[in-house]
Amino acid sequence: MKLIYPKWKKLPGQTTFNLPPHGPVAFAGTLPDYVDVSFTDENVEPIDFNEECDIVALSMMLSTQVKRGWEIAAEYHKRGKLVMAGGISSMLHAEEMVNHVDSLFLGESEGRMDGVMQDFVRGELKKVYNYMGQMPPIESVGPCRRDLYKRELYNHKGVQMVDLFHASRGCRFSCYPCAVSYLGGRKFRPRPIDKVVEDMAAIENNRLFIVDNSLAQNKEWEKELFRAIAPLKKKWISHTIEDDEEVLQLAYEAGAWYVYQAVYDTSDYIKERVKRYHDHGIGVEGTILLGLDNQTEDDCKRLIDFLGEIDLDLAEFTVLTPFPHTKIYDDLLRQGRIFDFDWNHYNAGQVVFQPKHMTPEQLQNVYDYAWQSFYKNETQEQKMFNLFCNVALREMNEGTYRPRDRKLMNQSFGHQVDRSKRNVNV
């Protein structure tokens, strides 16, 4: 099987860090042993369309990957190959996806791929394998096939990028702009702690990104998780952690490096929330969503200026984007406010709808202003470097620090580094 993660166009003006993708290797982990897999992440290396294979599998996470996925499928069809597709954006764009591939897999693949592969071997591959809403037992989620990564391609100047990891699936929240509850179900499904520890321990990387939508879904499980992973001495990034003194302390002791925290208003609560993370030695990357119906241009600018007061370590700005199967998609569709259905533009940096209190151009300008304003004194790469120093110091104190790979000091994601440039765009 040729497993491919299609490339997408990166947002202009931003530092690009290519992380080893999680979806393809999680999927590969569910394949039966008799399937040989060759993996290409097109974001870091070109596809060799002439490489021998019996079947092609496209794994896609982002809306901005689907059209490239269709191009890749067409290229393989010219060569007489069968193409199947799966992953988050295959599910979100399933109605269109099914027209471009020979077989579409919807849902989670644990315990199901042997049947699919048997169908393929018999020449009876189905057009659609529909497991939407039928979640496999969470205990069946096993380790990812991280052996498929070409590690040197996820390395920036000798520093290995974090490995992505998941400790749970599903989400009990159903947030306005998010499709996770549609994809992974509205029930929080934590993985058994012993399996989490076992999988995490086996990862040849001291730094992880726990990609669960929110760890703040079950306080007792969260505390148990942190106590269990602390001895591994990994350092990790995650989304929100419970706003609780005990949990935050346990998170730090378990290796919390920095968290993504939504900054949605200029309240003292947000200021205090960020401070509480910092008080526990945990860094904060603010995530700021621009273009909500309750925001004027001035509101957005006030919010952006507020970031200077709360001492964020990093900030990531996005414009509201109506991804299919979200409430915002339904609302804006009914209101006739979506004017762009080109999925290549659904990158959360391009305005594809009519904002309520701004023109699309004004919102686009606010978005550009946000990035420029926050990073005017210190670039994203420099701020990232500060966070890197924090974690390196902690690792040195604990004796887990791994020095940079000197062979790759002049390389960034497989490309030679031009050291006269500060930002790296691949």
């Binding site: 399933a94 529909n130 509850s181 549609y182 509205r186 299919p324 199967h325 609302d331 009914r334």
Partner: protein
Amino acid sequence: MKVPKEYYDEIFEFRGTWDEPSTCGLKIRQYEGKYYVVVTELYQENPGTSITYAGRKLADQICEAKGLRFDDMVYIECAPDTNSKLSFYDEEYFEVDFNADLQHKYHQLDPQKVKAILSQNA
């Protein structure tokens, strides 16, 4: 963020996109020779496809289950007030014209007018 029960007479189970088990709130009233069918999004209580994404597929299933003719129906989607602190969950009603293009498919209705119709023969 539960949808208050006054928004529906029954929970209607339907097959969403890819036959995903899905639910919505449902009220049907006869008014001036038409059947007013109000489907309400249930958010967290709906395990599958939203009413808007299901669209015509849901309308057809309601017709079949309730013995209605499609042309006799005024089909209305309701985004209910969930008493959430977030303004995204305020009440809205849209009449849906499945034959129109996307720009003209949804017509926002005055909630009071819809409620007046729904109070008929309740």
